[in-house]
């Protein structure tokens, strides 16, 4: 227990103090779990919009991982990359949702299983 409490500080060390790699591992685990949850959601849900939402979850996870690494390596490259990721996410969301709306108009349903015309 003492071992645990000793490690509890209010902030994650001030920047630019170095971060331990084990701590980094914690953040990466969170990122990984979030990613996997997003993946499971994408594969499981049938609603098109929720599927895209799950891809956004995966973006989130990637963002966390990037920021964690940026903090670990004490430079801001990761953060600027997250800026780009955000940009891409926004662009993709806009276009994807436009397409989803068009698809919905055609079949009056958001079920992804309806669009199985490419079956072999």
């Amino acid at each position: 227990m003492n071992v645990l409490l000793d490690g509890l500080t209010l902030a994650q060390g001030g920047f630019p103090e170095p971060m331990a790699s084990a701590t980094l591992y914690h953040y990466l685990m969170t990122s990984g779990m979030l990613f996997v949850i997003g993946l499971i959601g994408f594969v499981t849900r049938r609603n098109l919009i929720i599927m895209f939402l799950c891809t956004e979850l995966m973006f989130q996870a990637a963002g966390i991982a990037l920021i964690a690494f940026s903090r670990f390596h004490l430079n801001h490259t990761g953060e600027s990359f997250v800026v780009f990721v955000l940009t891409i996410a926004a662009a993709e969301a806009a276009l994807a949702l436009a397409l989803v709306v068009l698809l919905f108009r055609r079949k009056e349903s958001l079920d992804a299983a309806e669009w199985a015309e490419m079956r072999g």
């Binding site: 594969v43 599927m51 992804a112 299983a113 199985a116 015309e117 079956r119 072999g120």
Partner: protein
């Protein structure tokens, strides 16, 4: 020039030697004199080219070819008159004229020369290696003309001309159809092939001609292609010929393998060395291949010339039109086998077994065919069996070392057998296809049939061998005499003698039944419709003289049927042949007294490769008599006996066409078997055809199940794979995404696995080196 002189000397020496023998009373075709041997054989190389022929002798084979092409053009242009017949007769007559000219050239200076006339280069392979001398295979389209060739070609082209003329009327019923031109196309092609066969300068051209005549035989037998029996007969003929051709082709290949050449001019001098060994009694030293080649040739000859065991096609070949039977299956094609044996006689002398096989095969075939012929009722079939029987005589003749006898019999047989067939054909043509001798009688007494009856009579006396006045007698007698003269072949002599008697019997059975006796006839199956008979004005189309014989109908089944007497073309040809049958007598026997051998046929044979002297053998004297004299007496006796028996059984006291005294003779099972041709066809069917058919079914099943199955398997495997793979394409987004995620997981696992050292590095985590995946350089 030197060669010619030497050949002249050869003949003079031979003749002198033979005449010397005559004084001692020993007659035989084999002189057996060392002097003669040495002089004759060493004077000029065996079979080598000794002279030249002008190029117009190429007309002999190529005029008929031209005729074939022109008749083909007629067929294409749908010519519906007798033009094809005219073309054919003209071309073949031209070929005959060229043959006569070639004969004169060959025999000028009184002795035979050998010449090769080249048309063009045909096959020419030359190859060689550094350590082997160059090998070559040359087979030119050239023609080798010596006296044997002239002998053969004279009667081939002559008979072909006459029979083409005969056929122009015989086939006149088909003028309005495409059949007429088709008939003559095949006819001309046949003559061309026969010319290639007989005149070919190399074995390959002979083989070409061999196959060509087989093909034309097939085409012509199957002329009535709508009749199933004709088609079957054509197939049978062709297939049995092919079986023989296997022997010939193997012989050809072995010849090339051993001697290195297939051209006669080069081949025969090479055979010379083996011939020397054979003639000096050292036949054991001759290599096996050289001894085997003539045996293989014999198989081919037996197939083509219808001897045991390949004779069954010839009687069935009577399904073809009669001119075809006359030309191909009596006079020319079936003699091709005899020609082969005669041409390669030196090679046959080098083999221990070949000549005995030929002799015994011929003799047994002669006997067998005669027995079958005695029991048949179809006159054409009887003639067919008689052809087989006479061919057996020819082969036996050559086999007993008498190439002269065989060749002479070929020559005479061609004329009288052709005549017999043509007469039968005239009967068939006139009586609407009726050939059963139980249904025809007294034809000689019908008006307009005199010439046919005369021709038939001349042919019958030749075939039966009526003594002294017929050519058939002399040539047959030569063969039987040669047989008795050889100690080892005496049995053959007795067989041939007996067969001669049977021949006489069945020949005159036909004559007495069909041409003598009360006039009674039935129409055959091809009877014309009533309209034809009602309208007599149509007779002008038939082109024959009016021959109603209405007063002689008697009890004919077809009340309105009139026999159709032959017209000018048929009668003219029969007359010419009858005269020719007598005219050839001096050609086959030397009437100059002293029993010499300087008759024409003999000199023709001796001037060629067939004329080599066989090895010395002692002369056998049956019953103490000279062999030839004994043979003559014997054949006279058996011939007359046969004729008399036929007279009593089939002429005396016969009141109707269907019955005769012969019907009272019941020989039971033998008679039935003979009528059924000794069940040979049935035996062949059971032994060869049925198992092959079963085998064919087996292979068919194998092909369908295994081979096709394999092929289908090749198709089905991708199909199956495709079906399976297809199920992964559900079209649903989730499934694809799931699989992508799974694939990603697998890839990540694989990379981790590999980087942690693969199978060898199996252990817990922490085995990844710095700098690999997961480790990042600061």
């Amino acid at each position: 020039m030197v060669g010619l002189v030497e050949q002249l000397q050869t003949l003079q020496v031979v003749a002198a030697g033979v005449f010397a023998q005559v004084e001692h009373g020993a007659l035989g075709t084999h002189g057996g004199h060392e002097a003669a041997l040495n002089a004759g054989v060493n004077a000029a190389a065996l079979g080598a080219v000794t002279g030249e022929l002008p190029k117009w002798t190429l007309l002999i084979p190529f005029l008929p070819l031209l005729g074939c092409v022109l008749c083909g053009v007629c067929a294409i242009l749908k010519v519906r008159n007798k033009l094809p017949a005219v073309i054919t007769v003209a071309c073949i007559a031209g070929a005959f004229a060229a043959t006569v000219g070639a004969y004169m050239h060959t025999m000028h200076d009184g002795h035979a020369q050998t010449a090769v006339v080249k048309a063009w280069d045909w096959i020419r392979f030359v190859w060689g290696t550094e350590y082997k001398s160059p090998r070559e295979f040359i087979a030119n389209f050239s023609f080798y003309v010596d006296s044997l060739t002239c002998l053969w070609m004279l009667f081939v082209t002559g008979l072909a001309t006459l029979i083409a003329l005969y056929a122009s009327e015989y086939m006149a019923g088909d003028v309005k159809t495409a059949g007429y031109a088709r008939f003559y196309v095949a006819f001309c092609l046949f003559v061309f092939s026969m010319a290639c066969l007989v005149m070919g300068d190399n074995l390959l051209l002979l083989y070409l001609g061999w196959e060509g005549v087989g093909l034309c035989s097939y085409l012509l037998i199957g002329y009535f292609y709508k009749k199933p029996s004709a088609v079957a007969a054509a197939k049978k003929a062709f297939i049995m010929n092919r079986i023989g051709d296997l022997g010939l082709s193997m012989g050809l290949m072995l010849t090339y393998v051993h001697f290195g050449t297939v051209e006669y001019a080069k081949l025969f001098p090479l055979i010379q060395t083996y011939l020397d060994l054979a003639q000096h009694g050292k036949i054991d030293e001759i290599p096996f291949i050289v001894q085997a080649i003539p045996v293989l040739f014999t198989i081919g000859a037996f197939g083509k010339s219808a001897q045991i065991p390949l004779y069954v096609w010839l009687p069935d070949a009577m399904e073809g039109p009669t001119p075809v039977s006359a030309l191909i299956h009596a006079a020319t094609m079936v003699t091709a086998g005899v020609y082969l044996v005669a041409r390669f006689f030196p090679l046959y002398l080098c083999s221990e077994w070949a000549l005995p096989i030929v002799a015994w095969g011929g003799a047994l075939t002669a006997l067998l065919a005669a027995t079958i012929g005695m029991a048949q009722f179809d006159i054409k079939r009887i003639m067919a069996y008689s052809t087989v029987s006479q061919l057996g005589f020819m082969f036996a003749g050559i086999g007993v070392l008498g190439a002269v006898g065989g060749a002479a019999h070929v020559f005479t047989h061609a004329f009288f057998k052709a005549m017999l067939f043509l007469s039968c054909g005239a009967v068939m043509h006139g009586f609407a296809g009726q050939l059963d001798l139980r249904k025809l009688s007294g034809v000689a007494k019908i008006k307009g049939w005199k010439i046919v009856s005369l021709a038939m009579f001349v042919g019958c006396i030749n075939l039966a061998g009526v003594p002294f006045i017929t050519a058939g007698f002399w040539s047959k007698d030569m063969i039987i005499g040669d047989a008795f003269a050889d100690h080892g072949m005496v049995a053959i002599g007795w067989i041939l003698l007996g067969t001669a008697g049977l021949t006489a019997y069945y020949t005159f059975r036909v004559f007495f039944r069909v041409f003598m006796g009360p006039v009674q006839y039935e129409a055959g199956d091809e009877v014309h419709g009533d309209a034809d008979h009602a309208n007599h004005a149509n007779h002008a189309n038939h082109g024959h003289s009016d021959a109603h014989g209405a007063q002689e109908h008697g009890s004919a089944a077809h009340a309105a049927f009139h026999p159709h007497a032959p017209g000018l073309a048929i009668n003219a040809v029969l007359l010419i042949l009858a005269v020719a049958a007598f005219a050839v007598i001096p050609l086959v026997h030397d009437f100059s007294g002293g029993g010499g051998h300087s008759f024409w046929a003999s000199s023709m044979v001796h001037g060629s490769t067939a004329g080599v002297e066989p090895p010395h053998a002692e002369h056998y004297k049956p019953f103490g008599m000279d062999a030839h004299r004994f043979a003559m007496i014997g054949s006279i006796i058996v011939g007359l006996v046969g004729i008399v028996v036929a007279f009593f059984l089939h002429y005396v006291g016969r009141t109707s066409s269907a019955t005769s005294k012969a019907d009272s003779i019941k020989l039971g099972a033998i008679q039935t078997a003979a009528q059924h041709k000794w069940y040979v066809d049935e035996a062949y069917h059971a032994i060869f055809v049925l198992p092959l058919r079963v085998l064919a079914h087996v292979f068919h099943a194998f092909d369908k199940m295994v081979v096709d199955g394999l092929v289908n398997l090749f198709g089905m495997v991708p199909r199956g794979l495709g079906h399976t793979a297809r199920r992964t394409q559900t079209g649903v987004l989730h499934d694809y995404a799931l699989r992508m995620a799974g694939g990603l997981a697998v890839v990540v696992l694989a990379i981790w696995f590999l980087h942690s050292g693969g199978w060898s590095g199996w252990g817990g985590p922490g085995l990844v080196e710095v700098g690999s995946v997961g480790g990042v350089r600061p």
